[in-house]
């Protein structure tokens, strides 16, 4: 009896150790070269092989980007070129491109990877306390300060403050963008509407278009960051260009009457039916498509959308028929009424968990991507405003929309950022929730402002 029991136990042990040995061997075989860059010398290597130069060990560098689809094709082309150059410079480097949709990467995939400790080596990253700064504080991001010093490009950036924690740089903005009104000249002309210069004229244009059965403003609010762009400009028009920074540091409140007035104006436009019908079920692409199809008179979007209306862009049908204006001044609005939104909060971040090979590849990637050449190309091909100091004489454009963008920005006395680059993620989330509630009629402007302030107060209290 005992003997049999011992036999059975021994068999189980032998079997399990054999199986685990198989598993271990397999794991070793699958280990990426990047994890073990040192090649083990083969004992059977012939003398001639030993004499030849050491073969370069290939290693993978994962690169997460958000340049998906036709709308992003110009930016993807630049990225591909940069990757090629970096691969040529660093022997053995193989960049593994991983394309993920912007919102999904920002809100779901990257945070989950950060928590699990396995983010890609290079990834699209937003700055601010809800994104880059949070990850940097948790030691998940590579400190880029030494690399920037070595490459001598630290002073070339106009502003990377949303990626800085304790004086160290953890991310680099790839470009900048302003947000304003795109309009369809053809629709405006056909309906006898002059390009609006005041808020009254803008609202009169909305009313005329609505009366003619044309959607005044193309809007896709399924993801709340889309309508947030318009509110992010409307709020500083009423409450002053320092409102974002003020709310973030606690010196200003969302419940101030001017902020509530901005929310009320937005709600008024919703109630008057100026936005796309059923906007809460339409996504960002749907919004662009509606404007491109010539079904809406206005579109509030970022300057990165300019290239869409190039002859070879997705909205080529509207080539030469689109114009751009800043948000007009609002009567009784606080602060500089010519101020424009200017964001440089999106770019690339890098994992802190890298070996020497990967670090070299990252350095080459930064060296080739953050150059005047690509900053200018991004501007000319794609309407991405530069995030680096670029020779102003090179920032000229034949694109009439881009010329309007430049003129608008040049006329602006001041700039203001986006709330999401300054407030914590939970406050940004509450903001987005309340915007959708406002659109759905589930919240009044006062209630929405109160709820956002409550979330901000909780964050400020937690900091103390």
């Amino acid at each position: 009896m005992k003997k049999k029991l011992v036999t059975v136990t021994a068999s189980v042990l032998v079997l399990s150790s054999v199986l685990s040995a198989c598993g271990g061997g397999n794991k070793e075989n699958n280990a990426s070269p990047s994890a073990s860059p040192a090649a083990s010398p083969s004992t059977s290597a012939s003398p001639s092989e030993a004499a030849s130069p050491a073969p370069v060990e290939r290693f993978d560098v994962s690169l997460r980007h958000i340049q998906i689809g036709e709308l992003q094709k110009f930016r993807k082309a630049i990225l591909d070129e940069v990757v090629q150059k970096a691969e040529a410079e660093v022997p053995g480097a193989n960049f593994e491109m991983d394309a993920v949709e912007d919102s999904f990467n920002r809100w779901t995939k990257l945070p989950a990877e950060m928590a699990a400790g396995n983010p890609p080596k290079i990834f699209d990253l937003f700055g601010g306390p809800g994104d880059g700064q949070k990850f940097a504080r948790a030691n998940k991001l590579l400190d880029l300060t030494p690399i920037l010093d070595e490459l001598g490009i630290k002073e070339q950036f106009t502003d990377y403050s949303t990626f800085v924690v304790d004086g160290k740089v953890y991310g680099l903005p790839i470009g900048a963008g302003s947000e304003g009104w795109f309009y369809n000249k053809e629709i405006l002309d056909a309906n006898g509407i002059a390009i609006p210069k005041t808020l009254d004229e803008l609202e009169a244009a909305f009313e005329t278009l609505k009366g003619k059965g044309i959607t005044p403003i193309a809007m896709g609010s399924q993801a709340a960051w889309v309508p947030f762009m318009l509110l992010n400009t409307l709020i500083p028009r009423y409450a002053g260009e320092d409102i974002q920074a003020g709310v973030a540091n606690g010196s200003r409140k969302m419940t101030e009457p001017e902020v509530v007035a901005a929310l009320a104006k937005y709600k008024e436009w919703v109630d008057k039916g100026y936005f796309t019908k059923g906007e809460l079920g339409i996504d960002y692409t749907g919004q662009t498509n509606e404007f491109v199809a010539g079904k809406a008179g206005f579109l509030f979007d970022g300057t990165w959308r300019v290239s869409t209306f190039n002859a070879d862009g997705v909205g080529g049908a509207l080539n030469g028929k689109v114009g751009y204006i800043a948000m007009p001044a609002v009567p009784g609005g606080k602060g500089d009424q010519s101020a424009v939104n200017y964001n440089q909060n999106n770019g690339y971040g890098f994992s802190a968990d890298v070996n020497d090979n990967e670090k070299a590849a990252i350095k080459a990637f930064i060296k080739h991507l953050y150059t005047e050449e690509y900053q200018v190309r991004g501007f000319q091909e794609d309407g991405v405003l530069p995030s680096m100091k670029v020779d102003a004489s090179k920032l000229t454009s034949d694109n009439p929309i881009m010329q309007q963008v430049l003129a608008t920005n040049a006329a602006a006395g001041k700039v203001f950022p986006h709330f999401d680059s300054l407030v914590p993620g939970t406050v940004n989330g509450e903001f987005e929730k309340q915007i959708q509630n406002l659109i759905a009629g589930k919240a009044t402007p006062e209630k929405a402002a109160e709820e956002i302030q409550k979330a901000m107060d909780a964050e400020l209290a937690a900091l103390k």
Partner: protein
């Protein structure tokens, strides 16, 4: 060998690997969840013990209870719309003499499609301007409905799509049970003068009650863990109108980095599931009688 099998330790030895796996993949994560549910943890920095704060917050979290209510809609829709329709379609298909295989395959087809495909397919049907439903309404001069954008209609739209996806699977289950009933019983009833309806209501349905009970249980379980169809069709929108417990929990944990709170929510969901299982046991399972033909 017989002697060996009489030794209780041998059985323990055989059970050990399973117990080990069960402990590793079920008991340990559950205990860990309970621990993290009692902390303020952002997934990045060390967790801070906060006692029952997360649970107190969850009880006062209006949005969470809206998501719970939405899961309840799924359960109620399953029980009072889906299950009766499943029985009806099963009875109809079982009575079909020709092309029964074709009908079986047709109704089963949606359940082998991926949820993403179903979401896109139905997204087109619900489309405000080119969608099938609004075209249909247009024939009668009715205004288009914004099925997935209107807070009043979005939940119903998803419930219908979800029902379409899963009904076929359950119909095949119930159909198998109906076809397993000996023909003599129905023939005897027919000879005694029972009508088709009487046979379906008085004979077939009671005889397939064990399977219906399973269908009810699976429907409740499915409704509790529903999330994919919501993410594909509305992503919890419009304005949180279709948010379900699972999507709300994932959102809180990943999007806002509130892993501690998210874990507390997962424990609450677990408790709600336990309560519903208890109710199911009392209402359905205990009343089951063993049916012998």
């Amino acid at each position: 060998m017989n002697k060996t099998l009489r030794n209780p330790y041998v059985y323990l030895l055989f059970v050990l690997p399973t117990l080990g796996l069960y402990g590793l993949f079920f008991v340990y994560p559950v205990l860990q969840s309970v621990f993290y549910g009692l902390t303020n943890w952002d997934g990045l920095t060390p967790a801070k013990y906060t006692g029952l704060d997360n649970f107190v917050k969850a009880f006062n979290d209006e949005d969470f209870w809206i998501s719970v209510k939405n899961n309840m809609y799924f359960i109620l829709f399953s029980l009072f719309v889906q299950v009766p329709l499943i029985i009806l379609f099963s009875l109809l298909i079982s009575g079909v003499k020709r092309l029964q295989g074709f009908y079986k395959t047709t109704v089963f087809l949606p359940s082998i499609l991926s949820t993403s495909i179903i979401g896109i397919l139905w997204g087109f049907m619900y489309h405000p301007s080119i969608g099938l439903f609004n075209n249909f309404l247009g024939w009668f001069g009715l205004e288009p409905i914004y099925w997935l954008s209107d807070t009043k209609w979005a939940m119903l739209s998803i419930l219908v799509t979800n029902a379409w996806q899963w009904m076929g699977f359950y119909i095949v289950l119930v159909l198998a049970a109906i076809l397993a009933i000996p023909k003599e019983i129905n023939e005897a009833a027919e000879i005694d003068g029972a009508t088709g309806f009487q046979r379906a209501y008085r004979i077939t349905t009671p005889l397939i009650m064990p399977v219906i009970s399973v269908v009810v249980m699976l429907s409740i379980a499915g409704a509790m863990r529903v999330v994919d169809i919501v993410l594909v069709m509305t992503n919890g929108g419009p304005a949180g109108a279709t948010e379900v417990m699972a999507s709300y929990m994932v959102n809180k944990a990943l999007r806002y980095g509130q892993y501690g709170y998210g874990t507390a929510l997962s424990i609450m969901i677990f408790v709600i599931a336990l309560l519903l299982t208890a109710i199911y046991q009392i209402v359905f399972a205990r009343r089951q009688e063993r049916i012998e033909y």
